[in-house]
Symmetry: C2
């Protein structure tokens, strides 16, 4: 669909107000049961860096902010790093309510069965076949392999809580 058509889809404001010109879609927040498993998945399997952690001891939860960036671009100064992290798009926030990891019956809802809502996050990779072979080698759970279903150019893997992570390649 052409850009002109996209700009005339019902509901669309084709020229946003100047007031929104510096707005940034900064992050998406997911609750996770076992933070150690989630940090392992997002940093080792997907390459995110942990760029900020905030602990709320009294309310018994912690927040973890992750970004998929070149490590050399992360500010070492704590205050500068916070401002930097809040200014960029593509941050993932994980919320860990302390102790959920010790409850065998505890599980979060991935949004893809009733009641539905949130669907998935997506990581774009330069070579989807190489990426999926690596995920297989690492023992990652798949929701949909490249060979499953009709759409052969996308895959879905699952994070430790079962949240779906779509894998795409930009030029496919």
């Amino acid at each position: 669909m052409s850009l002109d058509h996209l700009n005339s889809v019902p509901g669309v404001t084709a020229q946003p107000e100047a007031a929104t010109s510096q707005f940034v879609f900064n992050h998406t927040m997911l609750r996770v049961k076992n933070i150690e498993r989630s940090l392992d998945f997002y940093t080792r399997v997907l390459g995110f860096s942990l760029v900020e952690k905030r602990d709320f001891a009294e309310a018994q939860f912690s927040l973890y902010f992750l970004a998929l960036v070149d490590k050399s671009t992360i500010p070492t100064d704590d205050k500068a790093r916070t401002t930097w992290m809040k200014s960029m798009p593509g941050v993932l926030e994980l919320t860990h309510n302390h102790g959920t990891e010790n409850d065998a019956d505890f599980a979060y809802h991935d949004g893809n069965s009733d009641p539905r809502g949130f669907g998935h996050i997506c990581v774009s990779v330069p070579d989807i076949h190489a990426a999926c072979e690596r995920f297989e080698t690492l023992g990652v759970d798949f929701q949909k392999r490249l060979t499953d279903g009709r759409m052969k150019s996308i895959a879905f893997i699952k994070d430790p809580d079962g949240y779906w992570v779509e894998i795409i390649q930009p030029d496919l």
Copy 2:
């Protein structure tokens, strides 16, 4: 917390594998009941641009991809725009299952009551007081105003489906 401490949090792989170096956290997908209302909210209130739409007539759903970018940077060529859109961080994908907007009883789940999981998305703004005053003027629903609760530097507004959108200012 210092970067050294962040790199030694249990579960964290401090130096990601080279295989992930070009990975990009591309998008987050939310299902929406009434696409016209959602497009109005995300383009007019928050300044997103609709950069791609895909229709699946047989399966009766459509996908809408939105990005918070300078309009002048959006490629006009359709193929180039698709590749560009899949290469950047901070894209929002909205899924519309056709006809849900006509069912008065239909509603999606925002993830913040049981069963919980997904929590919110977040938009960073240069001046949070100006942004929140504008949201009030526009009649946007608030989950938490700046003056509510303990944290006076963040707000939460609600999109037409009730999904929470956190509003932050990087240097606050």
